[in-house]
């Protein structure tokens, strides 16, 4: 039996909203980044699933996922660099302590 596409989608949705929840509630920059990864990951799943189920003749979703992973990698690299830098300057990566940039 082929697993229905909805199953994948439901799974991805649940993952996505777990990520959203994390993004809303966590207070640490790295945790936030982790939540973001969760969300991105869920989206990637969706791309792949739609590709596989709806348009298997082309590989658009496939490549989207691929490039998405690539961009995530880039983004994470930069983000972590920033986090480290912030930590170096502020001695903390808790967002409640990071208010200097506002002013």
């Amino acid at each position: 039996m082929i697993i229905p596409a909805e199953y994948y989608l439901i799974l991805a949705t649940v993952l996505f909203f777990i990520g959203v929840f994390g993004f809303f509630t966590r207070r640490n920059l790295i945790s936030l980044l982790i939540s973001t990864e969760l969300m991105l990951n869920a989206v990637d799943i969706n791309f792949a699933v739609f590709n596989a189920y709806c348009h298997p003749e082309h590989l658009e979703g496939f490549f989207f996922t691929m490039f998405g992973i690539g961009i995530t990698a880039a983004e994470t690299g930069v983000a972590i660099a920033i986090i480290i830098n912030v930590f170096r300057n502020a001695k903390s990566i808790h967002i409640k302590n990071l208010r200097e940039l506002k002013y």
Binding site: F23, F24, T25, L32, I95
Partner: protein
């Protein structure tokens, strides 16, 4: 009569020259310039009078009304416009003579009186301004021009009363004079507005057609105008400014507050007399009652004042009230049928200007000599100031109504007119006339007779009881005595002018004849007044005087305080208007109106503060809002799709 423009042009030019470059002139030059200017104007006025009356009457037996100049000054809509011009008719010519004569005398007199004063040039500039405005007022061709100059004389009076601008009393007096008259002018203005709207002209002589259509509102309009006149002419209860106005230099009091400006109200009523008689006789009689009350009130107050200028001021109020009464008791415009009052009033205006001017100038000479206004610093001055004494006595006799001095004739006509109106009015006014004689001679005796204040002081000084050597009173210089003498001569002869030949209520010649009964009564009453005054005051404070003083203490005290009219006014203005209206309004504006505006701002700011935390820069809360918003939108879309 084209030269009549110079009668107005010369004083204003003199004012401009003195006002703009007077400060750079030496005192003498400025004084001479002002005096020469007014002398020229006086001569021009006499020439104008001679030509005018010399030209004789026209076919209707009237002196023609000449309007040598009239130009549209300010158009107000299609029908109305304010004109500026010169109108010559018997009463304006008469006023020209009065004003220029008294003004000239005052100018000459001031050369001596004001010598060495700071602001001498300014003084002459203001005198020229006043003369200009007053002349403009009397030659006005229409009621609005009159109002224009009316305001100008008001301001000249303000400037002259406040001439000693470092004296707090003078500042207060000038302010009071201006504001009280301005308050009265408000009614005058409203009267003019009503008059102008309904008669469609500001002219003194609207066409009959327009007048009859406006007949119902004319009494209101004329009544309001009279209030304006009452303010200027110090009728009760608007008289309060005049006694205080005596804070100005004495010659100014003579010119403005005795002879000319204060009779402007009388002149106004006389100007509008044909309309009063034809459309508002009841208002005219109202004027008579106001006048009669004022005359009595002022005469009583004058009896107890100690400041000689105040006595004269109240005497002026009383005498102007006589003129008002005379106008008010007129029953028709025919002098033979009850219209005598008009002529009598104008006659009294003329003679009063002369002898009251004389009295004030004499008082000025005395003040100049003793450096005080208070009667207690005077007494026994007749030895030291003979010229002043004689001229002052003449003026007192004139005002008391003793023949053959001018006052007798004019006052007699007034009393005759009063008896003609009603015996009660006649008796009332005769009584006031007797009172006049009394208080004038009281003043006379207090100044010139009795114990000399100087001698008492001198005695004290020689006895070594004071170290202060008293100042010996001396006769005034020639610049001051000459005007006194001239005015005294006029006072002596003016009564014999056949006044009715020139001025009468309907313009036709009228022979003055003296009503024997009235004349006898009035002379007897005047003599009685003089005798009482002599008994009481001729030898200083006699026993009788003291007895009377102590028996009528309360009344005298009340009269001395002018029956508390000033306090009443002060209460109304200071307590009610300033503290109960203006202050609360200012508070209301700052705190309620402005507060409401500030409240708007504060509410906005509060709202802003409330909303501000949302823009915290915290991406997490942004995203919560964002997602929440997105969800709501999606839900809406789902719901509607």
């Amino acid at each position: 009569m084209e030269f009549s423009i110079f009668i107005l042009a010369i004083p204003i030019l003199s004012f401009l020259i003195l006002g703009l470059c007077g400060m750079k002139m030496p005192h003498k030059a400025a004084g001479l310039l002002g005096t020469t200017a007014i002398a020229t104007v006086a001569i021009l006025s006499y020439i104008a009078a001679a030509i005018y009356f010399g030209a004789g009457r026209n076919d209707e037996g009237l002196f023609p009304t000449l309007i040598p100049y009239a130009l549209q000054w300010l158009p107000l809509g299609n029908t109305l416009s304010i004109e500026m011009g010169i109108m010559l008719d018997p009463i304006s010519i008469m006023m020209l003579i009065v004003i220029t004569t008294v003004s000239l005398m005052v100018h000459i007199y001031s050369l001596g009186y004001m010598k060495g004063e700071r602001g001498f040039q300014r003084y002459y500039a203001f005198l020229s301004l006043f003369t200009f405005s007053m002349l403009g007022l009397v030659v006005a061709t229409n009621i609005f021009q009159m109002y224009v100059f009316w305001e100008l004389v008001g301001v000249s009076s303000y400037l002259l009363i406040g001439f000693y601008y470092t004296k707090p009393a003078a500042i207060a007096a000038s302010k009071k004079a201006f504001i009280v008259t301005r308050f009265a002018d408000l009614f005058f203005l409203i009267g003019i507005l009503i008059y102008g709207y309904y008669t469609e002209t500001f002219s003194f002589t609207p066409t009959e057609l327009l007048l009859s259509s406006a007949a119902t509102v004319l009494p209101t309009a004329l009544g309001l105008m009279f209030i304006g006149g009452a303010g200027k002419s110090a009728m009760f209860p608007l008289h309060i400014w005049l006694p205080d106005a005596m804070e100005g230099p004495t010659p100014v009091s003579a010119l403005i507050h005795a002879a000319t400006m204060v009779v402007a109200g009388v002149y106004l009523v006389a100007r509008m007399f044909p309309l009063f008689i034809a459309y508002a006789p009841e208002v005219l009689h109202m004027i008579a009652y106001v006048g009669a009350f004022t005359a009595l009130y002022a005469a009583i107050v004058a009896c107890v004042q100690t400041d000689i200028k105040r006595v004269l001021a109240f005497s002026t109020i009383s005498q102007i009230a006589f003129m008002m009464v005379a106008l008010g008791v007129s029953l028709s415009d025919d002098p033979h049928k009850g219209g005598l009052g008009y002529m009598a009033s104008m006659f009294h205006l003329f003679t009063h200007a002369m002898f009251k001017g004389l009295l004030f100038l004499g008082a000025g000479a005395i003040i100049h000599a003793v450096h005080s206004n208070e009667k207690s610093h005077m007494g026994g001055l007749r030895k030291y100031m003979p010229v002043t004494h004689i001229t002052f006595l003449i003026a007192c006799l004139a005002i008391a109504g003793i023949p053959p001095f001018a006052g007798f004739f004019s006052k007699d006509e007034i009393l005759a007119a009063c008896y003609n109106y009603s015996p009660a009015m006649g008796i009332f006014m005769s009584f006031v006339a007797a009172l006049t004689a009394f208080y004038m001679f009281r003043l006379y005796y207090l100044i010139f007779w009795g114990k000399s204040h100087y001698e008492e002081e001198l005695a004290l000084y020689t006895a070594g009881k004071t170290t202060h050597e008293p100042h010996k009173p001396h006769e005034a210089p020639a610049t001051m005595t000459t005007p006194l003498i001239i005015l005294a001569i006029i006072t002596c002869v003016a009564g014999f002018i056949p006044f009715g030949k020139f001025i009468s209520s309907n313009g036709h010649a009228y022979d003055i004849h003296i009503d024997a009964a009235v004349a006898t009564t009035s002379i007897l009453l005047a003599v009685a007044g003089i005798v009482i005054a002599t008994i009481m005051y001729a030898k200083g404070d006699s026993k009788i005087t003291q007895a009377i003083n102590s028996s009528m203490k309360n009344i005298i005290n009340a009269a001395y305080h002018r029956f508390y009219m000033d306090e009443l006014w002060l209460f109304v203005t200071k307590k009610i208007i300033f503290n109960c209206i203006s202050r609360p309004i200012a508070w209301f504006d700052r705190h309620i109106i402005d507060g409401a505006m500030d409240m708007l701002a504060i509410v906005t700011q509060k709202l802003g503060n409330y909303v501000r935390p949302m823009q915290s820069g915290n991406v997490q809360s942004y995203s919560v809002w964002f997602l929440g918003g997105a969800l709501i939108i999606i839900l809406t879309l789902i719901y509607f799709a």
